[in-house]
Amino acid sequence: MFNTLSLRLRIFLFFALLGCGALAILAGSLAFAAARMDPAQPMAALTTGGIMAGFLTAALVAGIWYLFDENVARAIERLSSELRARAHADISRDLDAAPAKYLGDLAPAAGELTRTLASARSELEETVAEQTSRLKEQTAQLTALLSDVDMGLILCAPSHQIVFYNPTSVDLLQDTGRPRLDRMIFDLLREGPIRRTYETLLKAETGEKHRDVLVSTVACGRTIAAHMRLVSGALGMGEKPGYVLTLRDVSKDMKMHSERERLLTETIDSVRLPAARLQAVLDMINDPVGGFADHDAALRSEAAELVEVVNTLAERHDADQDTWWPMQDVRASQLIDAIRGHLGPDALPLDAPSPHISLRCDGFALSSLLASLIHKITDLGLAKALSLTVEMEGPGAMVSLHWDGGALPIPALREVLDAPLEDGPIEITGQEILNHHNSDIWPETTDSGQAALMLPIAEARMVEALGSLKPGYGRPTVFDFDLLTQVRDGAVTGKKLSELTYVVFDTETTGLDPKGGDEIVQIAAVRLLNGKRVDGEVLDQLVDPKRTIPPKSTEIHGITEDMVKGMPTIKEAGAQFHRFCQNAVLVAHNAPFDMAFFHRHAETIGAPFDHPVIDTVLLSAILFGQNEVHTLDALADRFGVVIPAEVRHTAYGDTVATAEVFQRMLAMLEAQGMTTYDDVVAAMEKNARLMREMKARVG
């Protein structure tokens, strides 16, 4: 009944209650004093009555304050937190009006406001989405195209920090490190040649904008042929231009070349002697003076040696067979799609399951050749339907085209192999393509009696199914052109929050006591740059804790002892994480807990974890007040961040949720005037208890 009255009437009634209550207490106390009054000592009864009135009035005021605090002050605080969260995050859920039920029309009015805000926001988003969808589509197409370029591409800012890289460069440099946005290129490629070439291009007066440079990788010593081109103008650089590096691994070419040279020299050297001996024996046989009795045995022995030398050299040559023809890693499914593309819609039915095999080959040429063979089989009326299988065989794979019907005659096969490939880059025949692949093709009859064509591929490997890759795990082209004009050196003092690089992370552990012997079993981390999560820069690593995992912990995170067997220990995984966190501010939900594990193992890992640390629990206390609930679930709920049930309590799932929450918190902090890292630290210092608590927990 009470909450149907208006807020003003309710507040009036509160004060009326306070006033009436005070008067009633005074009247009661006076009556009490009058009844007990001793005419000889009236002051004693009056004093008792006064004290009683004082205590009762204080109790009444305290009671009224409690009701006021609970139903007005705290309710307003909660409501304002909710409103602020909605101002900075796109939360579609309706405002929870329950805590503010005694605030009259305030909660419904605020609800109406947030609904209007949400609807305006969604209208605006729709308009923006419409306007930008084509742009996004084009960016996606361009990104996909760059991901397919079979050459490493890295764009660096004038500060030599990476602004853009494509997946080929990741593959190319995988043994030395991983390109990451805002990291120095010198972490991957030797500094000297890159810096010298850049300086030379800067100084070049003749307008020279590009130059070739041979450079080796930092860790694995591979030789990379790089082409450096200065860029500016459209890319919006500052005074100094940045540069694009086009990378090609030439170690293999150089190794192959030197192997061939060596084989050639050895061939000449090792054939020279038996040939000379053979010549000598023949000369002796034909010598008119004679005198070489056992020339038969000598001839046989020299011929046998020559045969052996040639066979040994041939074996080495066969083992070292390689090709200069450009090859790519082509998935079996891509090869099959390409064949279907060449065949067109009117072709015979082709049954071709796609195993998760990647073939090292020229996919275009091979698909074109296989399509020509299928056309030939069709033209000869040998088959009504065809099957194509790709199976691993030794270090390579066997591509087999088979059908019910007659075998493809060798002359017909030869006709296809001798014809130039359709749409080939140069005039090249099928046989030449097979030679470049160090391969061949032949007809065979399968065990089930089908006619078949067999085409072995020398190099192949099993790969993960495309669909099983987690988001962010693909092979995206990664870029952030805002980095072109920024210098990120890991310093935090005086830096704007938006200019910092953050690594948001989470760990799963064997238990809750880092000092009592519990260990990490999984680390996940993502990077945030310029307020955006960087797709493709993800760490998700199981860790062998070298101890048992209690079943109760397994129940929470689902990680069993079998899963971590053979995984890196904290020494390797910690070092990997440390490299991932270089120059970044670490962010975690209840960071001191996770950091305690890394601090304890810093010596084993060989690197101190002295990064600036932000704890989202503390941020939540600053933003929403200490009395609120600060669990990750509560924060996610407050910001409308959905954590899918299947990834909740996995390190990766919780990391992504923390990153989403943190991104929204950054917007709130900035709106409240805390725009730099120092502001956030100062805000934390204002709350000395929070700071002490954090320091104690970080250790």
Binding site: A303, A304, L306, V307, V310, N311, A314, E315, D318, Q321, A407, P409, I410, P411, L413, R414, L417, Q431, N435, N438, S439, D440, W442, P443, E444, M454, P456
Partner: protein, 131 residues
């Protein structure tokens, strides 16, 4: 003492296809000395009828990389019922695993890569005659 090859009680018959060079002459000389009756013919499908008439126990076929005519001939031989009994020995001027595999797939019973000592050829022919 030279071993004399025979096949099921009759004189062993060997056909040399291709090998129209000194190597062919040497093989012919060596196998004739071992008691084989030798037929020589070029490596072409036109010789098939003559080959059937000669009814060889072992056919020695020369194959060169990137030249599929020998395999065309092998495919034809394997399709002739009257040459079912003939064993096929392929001599190839390369020795990659893939060449051996291809030769087997095309119906070869034995494979030798060049160069080889004559003794190896005689061992292979002897083995095929006994099989």
């Amino acid at each position: 003492m030279t071993k004399t090859f025979s096949c099921n009680g009759h004189e062993a018959r060997v056909a040399l296809l291709g090998l129209d060079d000194t190597l062919g002459d040497a093989i012919e000389h060596s196998l004739s000395r071992d008691g084989c009756a030798l037929t020589r013919a070029p490596c072409a499908t036109s010789v098939l009828d003559g080959l059937c008439a000669a009814c060889p126990d072992v056919i020695v076929l020369e194959s060169r990389t990137s030249d599929m005519s020998a395999f065309g001939l092998a495919q034809e031989i394997r399709q002739r019922r009257d040459l079912d009994h003939a064993r096929l020995l392929v001599l190839q001027n390369s020795g990659r695993a893939i060449d051996k595999r291809r030769a087997r797939a095309m119906g070869a019973d034995a494979f030798l890569s060049m160069p080889f000592p004559m003794s190896s050829l005689r061992i292979e022919v002897g083995r095929l005659l006994e099989a």
